[in-house]
Symmetry: C2
Subunit: 355 residues, 2 copies
């Protein structure tokens, strides 16, 4: 089943407006609905809409509203139209259960949940972009009685938006994101919460590690509260396991049992190794090269021009800021075999480097 | 008191050899000792040594051995020489206590612990660099009976290595790093440990967030076991607080108490805001601009050349790799007021961007 449109997008926030823009980019007709006139005006101004929402008979309705309102809006779309309906919320079990309570078994066959793995720290239609989903995974999560044609239409939506569809059951999806997204968010918030309590002078010893661990904890608490409370079963079982781990660590510390501490650390190392690397391949052995970057415009350009001439591909990079320092340290990750070449070639071009 | 040398460095690993190189850079005489002939050969080859360790009468001994051996080596240096002695371990209370048991009260006055906030995921002398400490904080942690002149010499060591000395009591230091380094490491390991248990297919939904949170968990378990077990009191009190937080979350999930979840998330947001920003100033409002980067050499150079011409200073950056994507997304952080200018100017130069 192709995505012929028109598509009605309900909710002109970051995701809804970005989906509308991505569909317009490939010529699919789009109508947009939102309770906020302001959001609709902005989204229209961006070119996200070309069809009147009050007159449209959509092939597909995309529900892109906050998690707490998903089931109600999905159900309204199923009963109010004969279209295929999807939602793009971060949790799939809860909206499915809520929808099931509100619609007939026949209507439910037209619903297939989905979840594009894309977002931004910003929100609202002004942050929207047709390119938001390009190359991202997009989970498609059919329930047991979903019709094959509805699954096809939602899969086609993901592809039309430039994403790569990946199929999960709703339950599998929720378990996966509990582990890869919600638990990391909660534990980042707990680490950050301990910093909020700290004497300010102690924070002078904050390095790049704690910055990395806590970065996502800056996310919107109201949105994350909705996500977390909607994924209770999967998250509770992981949190119980974490509490057991914390108890193990506390017992190991009080008993001076170094082997038990090492076991926890070893499992952590194993966990970092199973995260898929760049482009889905297991991460190969990379080496890090540090380069001192004077803190003014132009230096990064000069560095990458030099790296480009040297011909070594930069696999990853980060700027390591230290509060006490008047410049940045650039951490370049390259294939291990190329590190020495890069190091000496950068040195010859006058850069201060170390591994 | 100036650092006139000679300095005897005990332990030719990453830190010891880097300190030796940094001191040689400013003309201080350095002798080096290590149980490994191999390490000594490598460090000598790098130019880290110019004085014979068996004949030297040092002004300062720097003990740079693994945490488990610090007290024994500090005590040996205090009783075997009349020099000022420091160590560069990550924990300050435990080596002080162990040293106190082994030396006289008079000898103890010559000991002042310290801790340079620098390192590398690599270890050993081949990873050493004279530039490792440039601009980094270096904690100097005098105990109550340390002599003022010993404190001066250790402070001068930090400065000679290019670092910025920051004074803490040993106990304050250990509490600070428990919060800013050891607890983040342990919780990163717990998040990563849950990934090790996961069905591999679920990991396809791993995004940049979980990569950031778990990055430090890849660190050497043997070294981290020593650090963590040596900082038991400070770490145990934080772990108890984390366990209480986890219990609060579990109760909130089981009671459907959204407000309690929000409270934990809110405190996390506060914690991310108190980490000192770039150059010690509170982080100003930054905005993120995403740019699509084709995955071959030269593209980064072209991007930064364009950014340099546009004249907007890049405050921070990261490459966001998604397994499903055949290219990178570069996340550029710039002062919020400059984001729109950068976005449109990059767009004019043909880059695919979004916020």
């Amino acid at each position: 089943m192709r995505l012929d449109g028109p598509v009605l997008v309900v909710g002109a926030g970051l995701l809804g407006t970005s989906i509308a823009l991505a569909l317009r980019r490939v010529g699919v007709d789009v109508a947009l609905r939102d309770i906020s006139e302001e959001n609709l005006r902005i989204a229209s101004g961006l070119g996200a809409v070309n069809v009147d929402a009050t007159a449209v008979r959509p092939q597909l309705v995309v529900v892109a509203v906050p998690p707490d309102h998903l089931a109600e809006q999905v159900a309204a779309a199923l009963t109010g139209t004969d279209a295929v309906v999807t939602d793009v919320g971060s949790i799939k079990g809860a909206p499915l259960a809520g929808t099931r309570e509100r619609v007939s078994a026949t209507e439910l066959t037209r619903y297939v949940g989905s979840h594009p793995m894309a977002g931004s720290e910003r929100s609202g239609p002004v942050a929207a972009s047709a390119a938001l989903f390009d190359g991202r995974p997009w989970a498609v999560t059919p329930h047991e009685t979903a019709s094959a044609s509805a699954v096809d239409v939602v899969t086609a939506l993901a592809q039309a938006c430039g994403a790569t569809p990946v199929t999960f059951t709703p339950d599998e999806h929720d378990q996966a994101v509990a582990r890869t997204s919600h638990l990391p968010h909660l534990l980042a918030a707990l680490v950050a919460g301990r910093l909020a309590d700290a004497p300010r002078s102690h924070l002078a010893l904050s390095g790049q590690g704690v910055r990395d661990v806590t970065r996502i904890a800056a996310g919107d608490p109201s949105l994350w509260r909705q996500i977390i409370t909607a994924n209770t079963p999967a998250l509770a079982s992981l949190l119980h396991a974490v509490r057991d781990d914390v108890d193990t660590l506390l017992r190991a510390l009080s008993d001076g049992d170094g082997a038990a501490v090492t076991a926890v650390l070893d499992r952590g190392v194993q966990g970092t190794a199973v995260i898929p690397g760049k482009h889905g391949t297991p991460a190969g052995p990379l080496a890090t090269v540090f380069v001192v970057i004077p803190d003014h415009p132009g230096e990064l350009a000069r560095l990458f021009a030099d790296a480009g001439e040297i011909g070594v591909n930069i696999e990853d990079l980060r700027i390591d800021h230290d509060p006490a320092r008047a410049y940045g340290l650039m951490e370049l990750s390259v294939v291990a075999a190329a590190a020495d070449e890069l190091l000496s070639a950068l040195g010859e071009r006058g850069w201060t480097t170390h591994r």
